[in-house]
């Protein structure tokens, strides 16, 4: 049950988000991570990374998708206190950190208008990014399959498919 104690005597939690290491305190004060905080809550409220969206908050819609250990996972169904030592990528981490250039996927989404209200889009981008990281030239079926956990009520699916396939065909290497 050991955890690192920080200088204030409270237990610490170390996570890396988009390449940045964070050292958080476990506790119930503002700025601290409570045991019942989900990763989605911590990313948004404690770390200010509001790109990740909470929609159903029950693991069904995929809007909260982030990449952890190279796999797309649902941040609303993960307890932050269980993420010790983990490395997480959110939508804010897609762009090149040095030049600010958008990820080819993000650019393709703009070029193909692959969003309307945009609420599902960060989740879809993370699922698509995880797919292209492990399979740089997916078939249309493979794209559909890997996005099957992300729901869109504006029905942007058609343009999303085009955008992901276009980004895949470009085959540009990314930094992530």
């Amino acid at each position: 049950m050991q955890r690192e104690k920080t200088s204030s005597g409270k237990q610490g939690l170390r996570i890396t988000v988009n390449g940045e290491p964070y050292e958080l305190r476990i506790g119930d004060w503002p700025g601290e991570v409570s045991t019942s905080h989900t990763l989605a809550h911590t990313l948004r409220e404690t770390l200010g990374l509001t790109g990740t969206k909470i929609s159903c908050d029950r693991g069904a819609c995929g809007a909260c998708t982030v990449i952890m250990d190279e796999k797309p996972v649902l941040s609303c169904m993960i307890l932050t206190v269980e993420c010790e030592g983990k490395s997480i990528t959110t939508v804010e981490g897609l762009r090149d950190p040095k030049t600010g250039r958008l990820d080819p996927l993000q650019q393709a989404f703009i070029d193909h208008t692959a969003f309307q209200c945009g609420f599902c889009t960060p989740g879809i981008l993370m699922s698509a990014r995880a797919l292209l990281n492990r399979n740089p030239s997916p078939t249309e079926e493979e794209v559909k399959e890997s996005l099957s956990g992300n729901f869109c009520r504006c029905i942007s699916h058609y343009h999303v498919l085009k955008a992901v396939l276009a980004a895949a065909q470009k085959g540009e290497p990314t930094h992530s």
């Binding site: 049950m1 955890r3 019942s36 029950r58 609303c76 307890l79 269980e82 099957s148």
Partner: protein, 325 residues
Amino acid sequence: MKSFIHANARTVAEAVKLLKRYNGKAKVNAGGTDLLGVLKDRILPEDPDAIINIKTIPGLDYIRKDSKGLKIGALTSLSDICSSPKVREGYSVLAEAAYAVATPQIRNMATLGGNLCQDVRCWYYRYPNEIGGRILCLRKGSGPCLAVKGDNRYHAILEGKKCFAVCPSDTAIALTALGAKLKIAGSEGRKIVPIKDFFLTLGDILMPDEMITEVQVPKPPKKAKQTFIKFVLRKPVDFAIVSVASILAIEGGVCSEAAIVLGAVAPTPFRAVEAEKVIKGKVIDTVTSAKAAEAAVMAAKPLSKNAYKIEITKTLIKRSLLGSS
């Protein structure tokens, strides 16, 4: 969520010790895809005081294969199981069942042990602790079953008694057809339980201080035809309306051994013994498969809104026997 004490267990023994210490007021957390939903909606009569993370226990995430069968660690993720060549070759019904679960993100997080232990989806049971308060029933300790006279369209057509919620686990159906055994660790020691004895109408046989550590799958008959069919309204994500797992050994054109298990029609995985009796020793054709389908649902007692499941069950059985899914 109500606040809770959180602990990262480092060994199975530590997890069991903590479970025992909290005496029923602690729960283990593996993938979290079921438990967190339960905690957020506060559907349990008593929220747990402690959550014990078992993902920090090393050595429970493995798939080992030998000539006798498979041994899968309880913390193996469903995505690892459905993509593993060790499972896909020779145990395809399990790989297909694992693949049928939910969505890619959930399969990345969810574990085999957790998929077996997940709670039912009955919408009365799952009603959140909100307007009017949580809906109590026998599964929660006491209270009448509101599904009986209410909206029971997704509830059980077979073996429902006191509780009509169906077993929601897809892997449970495949593992029952495979005749799997579960290794369970508790403060009394370790024991091995056949999966057919694991599920009960109101839950499973796990005591508050126990957890599954391994799933053991014996090797099915050589070249047996393995099928898993899941009928859902929305692909993927939905839980099964009806599902069928079948393992058929065909020798000389005749079915020598059969295991047909139905899912989402009963509170536990339902072994369709009557259907198996019909086709054993016979050639599988449209006549025998229709007879088997009828035999499977012979004892069905539909509720007011779920008789449609009977037809779907028969069709899925016929498809699994005749080969087109």
